[in-house]
């Protein structure tokens, strides 16, 4: 029971963090057609959408695609339906990291926390997200 509710909570959180609505997807595949890291991914960008829609978050969180996405945001730029696959991926990444430990990070703490093991994608994506 707790597992189901956790999945639901995570799916809702992905929608909230990403601000994307997977229901808008018309399955055209332009995200996967655009993606420069496509070959590296086990779950492809267009599949991310249905994984979130189906609440298949566990598989998503375990996917290596999370750490292969370059955060180039080409899929966001070119998606005709404004579904923002990269934002979904980014949100899944954040969930994974949040589950590991604290939810929040203050900028002053970053230098001390810098971890050579921390995936670069997370940093790049965060910087791009908060660049304004």
């Amino acid at each position: 029971m707790s597992n189901v509710s956790k999945t639901e909570r995570q799916a809702a959180m992905i929608r909230e963090i990403s601000g994307a609505n997977p229901a808008k997807c018309m399955k055209c595949g332009k995200c996967s057609a655009t993606c420069p890291a496509f070959d590296e991914m086990d779950i492809k960008p267009h599949q991310f959408v249905s994984y979130v829609q189906d609440g298949n978050i566990e598989a998503l969180a375990a996917s290596k695609s999370l750490w292969k996405c370059l955060s180039c945001f080409a899929c966001i730029e070119r998606c005709p339906r404004n579904v923002k696959p990269a934002k979904l991926i980014d949100a899944a990444r954040q969930i994974v990291e949040r589950e590991k430990g604290g939810d929040y990070l203050s900028p002053d703490e970053i230098p001390a926390l810098l971890d050579p093991e921390l995936p670069q994608q997370l940093l790049v994506s965060a910087f791009r997200r908060y660049r304004r």
Binding site: K27, G29, A33, T34, K44, H46, A74, P80, N82
Partner: protein, 662 residues
């Protein structure tokens, strides 16, 4: 004192499931002046209408309230029923207890309470209703068709064949429109020009049809049956009565570098030109921006070579003012601009073209004389990639949210034609969905796949990258195979979304015809009145109303013509008596109402007014009932409360509000 009858409709379960109709009857019966109240399952049925007649006869009703659906649905029905029963039709009011009540409520108690309030308001209004009598206005028996493509031509022919005069106004130098630019038509593959030009010739030769090409509508005033239209006939710089259409001027013209609009900018034309060989009229125009004579004063070679002496550099624009009873809008479409779609490299490579450009490339009269070749280097292509849904079905600001409807079929056509003529060329089509609802349409698409070997791949193209060797790298999804694929192509053809021709926006403003967020003209009812604008006397033909192919366009053009004919066949139109009226005793002649009136229906007269014994000359507002459309703007603007809308007087509206708030 009125004697009012209230009739509450169940509309089957549409109303009765959410509104306690018996309770509404019971409460309505207690209202002042109500002498009769009853309910019935279907008031609009003959039996229901008979109940109204019976109550009028038995109870001597003077006013009627029907609690039913929206007045847009059945007000006319019940007004006619009242008229037959001997009551002035404007003594009928509808309380909308369906759309405004039962359909939007779930709770029966709330629904019933609201239905009672709505009934009460309608009763309060009828208490103040007075009989109104419609006037008459005349009908000018001539139609205007705006746009000379296949839609406009068909509408004009149908109206003219019924015996009415028609004028076609076309902004380009020739009629024919987009269809003239097409090479072949789906699903029969007949040559577009071969089936279009006979219609163009028929329109030009028809004694009831006048064609104004190179002309635009500049001003429209009036109303249904009596429009007055200014048409700007742009200076052709040619005397059409003298020109023989020999074409020598175009051959000799020294300015030959202008991009041909007809060939979608893929070829050039001379400054003096007819857009295409079968142009109607076969009279050229001088493009004054490109003409050396107009730019420098020198040259003038066309005048020298013209044996007929038809060249007239001094010609001026002419304004033609004409009256029309009906207007058919047939302004057609254009493809969207692809500036925001950098990923397809449309602006980077000459070998990435739109489907409409491919029509010109495939056409014998086109820039390549019908040879399929790369526009960059003239080489024969080995592999052509088609991309569907470019700018269609996009919810972002780059494209259009709608399906352009024609692309699936013309892409199948292009793919088939190429494979038929050049079996060595490989053709790949990237699609999201293949949409082929239409007679013989899916069979056509399947033929492209099964008989012509066209390779259809489900997935979008992510990017097109021009390569140093001149080829195009196409990166796309193959969703059914869950792969990303990279292909080498020699040409890429983009099935570009279509949008209403930009000229429709200012035209809609002139016509006071409504358009939707995509600039398509709105129909009066999406299902039941699909070829009429909500503005009376304006009819819609072709893509200006929504994306459609040629057979649908021709069918709609005929339907629009029938509606126009139905209007022109009348000698008089009944006018709406719900017009504004000024109370001369209250009017202070301030002109506020005249300033806000969108129809120019209000003027001023100096009149001898007897104001409670004081006789003096006063400037007072006078409403022209033929022009007034009953919008009510003046009644709101009038500072002294002198303006009132008949049938919707200030007193009546306040009475309704009071009844609701009671």
């Amino acid at each position: 004192m009125q004697r009012i009858g209230v009739f509450v409709c169940h509309c089957g379960s549409n109303i009765a499931a959410t509104v306690d109709v018996k309770k509404v009857v019971e409460m309505a019966a207690r209202e002042p002046s109500v002498v009769h109240a009853e309910d019935y399952p279907y008031m609009c049925s003959e039996a229901g209408q008979a109940k109204i007649a019976q109550a009028v006869a038995e109870k001597g009703l003077t006013g009627i309230v029907v609690c039913s659906c929206s007045p847009r649905m059945h007000e006319a029905t019940f007004r006619k029923a009242a008229e037959r029963a001997g009551i002035n039709p404007f003594m009928v009011e509808i309380a909308n207890i369906r759309e405004h009540c039962s359909w939007i409520h779930k709770n029966i108690e709330e629904g019933t309470e609201k239905a009672i309030i709505l009934a009460r308001a309608a009763i309060a209004k009828v208490n103040l209703n007075a009989p109104l009598f419609p006037g008459e206005s005349r009908v000018t028996k001539r139609a205007l068709v705006i746009g000379g493509g296949i839609a406009g031509i068909q509408s004009a022919l149908d109206i003219a064949d019924a015996g009415y005069e028609v004028d076609i106004v076309e902004k380009t130098p020739s009629i024919g429109g987009r269809m003239a630019q097409l090479d072949k038509t789906f699903p029969t593959l007949d040559c577009s020009a071969c089936i279009l030009t006979p219609k163009m010739v028929e329109a030009a030769a028809h004694e009831k049809i006048r064609i104004y090409t190179y002309s635009e509508v500049e001003k429209i005033s009036g109303f249904v049956g009596d429009f007055t239209v200014d048409i700007r006939k742009k200076a052709r710089s040619i005397d059409a009565t003298k020109c023989t259409g020999c074409g020598v001027c175009q051959e000799k013209c020294h300015s030959k570098k202008s991009l041909s609009e007809f060939n979608r900018g893929l070829g050039t034309r001379s400054a003096i030109y007819t857009p295409f060989a079968q142009a109607i009229p076969n009279v050229p125009v001088i493009d004054r921006e490109a003409c050396i004579k107009f730019k420098t004063g020198k040259c003038g070679v066309c005048a020298k070579v013209c044996a007929a002496g038809a060249i007239d550099y001094e010609q001026k624009d002419e304004i033609i003012t004409e009256k029309y009873g009906a207007i058919v809008v047939a302004t057609g479409f254009d493809t969207i601009k692809l500036d925001k779609y950098d990923e397809y490299a449309y602006n980077q490579s000459k070998d990435v073209i739109t489907s409409l450009e491919l029509e010109r490339v495939m056409n014998a009269a086109g820039p390549t004389k019908g040879h399929l070749e790369r526009l960059s280097d003239g080489k024969h292509p080995e592999h052509i990639v088609f991309v569907q849904c470019v700018g269609s079905r996009c919810s972002d600001e780059r494209g259009k949210p709608y399906c352009s409807k024609i692309c699936c079929m013309y892409t199948a056509k292009h793919a088939m034609l190429i494979r038929d003529k050049y079996p060595d060329v490989k053709v790949t089509v990237f699609y999201i969905d293949v949409r082929t609802p239409g007679k013989n349409f899916d069979e056509f698409y399947r033929r492209a796949v099964e008989e012509y070997g066209v390779n259809y791949i489900k997935g979008q193209v992510g990017k097109v990258a021009p390569q140093p060797d001149g080829s195009l790298l196409v990166q796309a999804s193959d969703l059914l195979d869950n792969k990303q694929i990279k292909l080498k192509a020699d040409m890429v053809v983009l099935a570009t979304a279509i949008e209403p021709d930009p000229s429709v926006r200012p035209l809609a403003t002139m016509l006071t015809a409504s358009i939707d967020t995509n600039n398509f003209l709105t129909e009066a009812h999406p299902k039941l009145r699909p070829v009429e604008s909500p503005t009376a006397g304006i009819f819609l033909s072709g893509v200006c109303q929504g994306p459609k192919d040629i057979p649908e366009t021709v069918a709609q053009a005929g339907a629009a013509a029938v509606k126009a004919i139905g209007l022109l066949a009348k000698d008089k139109l009944t006018t709406n008596p719900c017009t504004a009226k000024a109370d001369e005793l209250l009017c202070n002649g301030c002109s506020t109402c005249a300033n806000v009136c969108p129809y120019g229906a209000i003027s001023y007269e100096t009149k001898l007014i007897n104001d409670h014994g004081i006789r003096e000359d006063r400037r007072v507002a006078v409403v022209n009932n033929a022009l007034c459309q009953g919008c009510g703007a003046c009644t709101v603007a009038c500072p002294s409360g002198a303006m009132d809308l008949q049938g919707f007087s200030n007193r009546q509206i306040i009475a309704e509000v009071d009844a609701i708030c009671r």
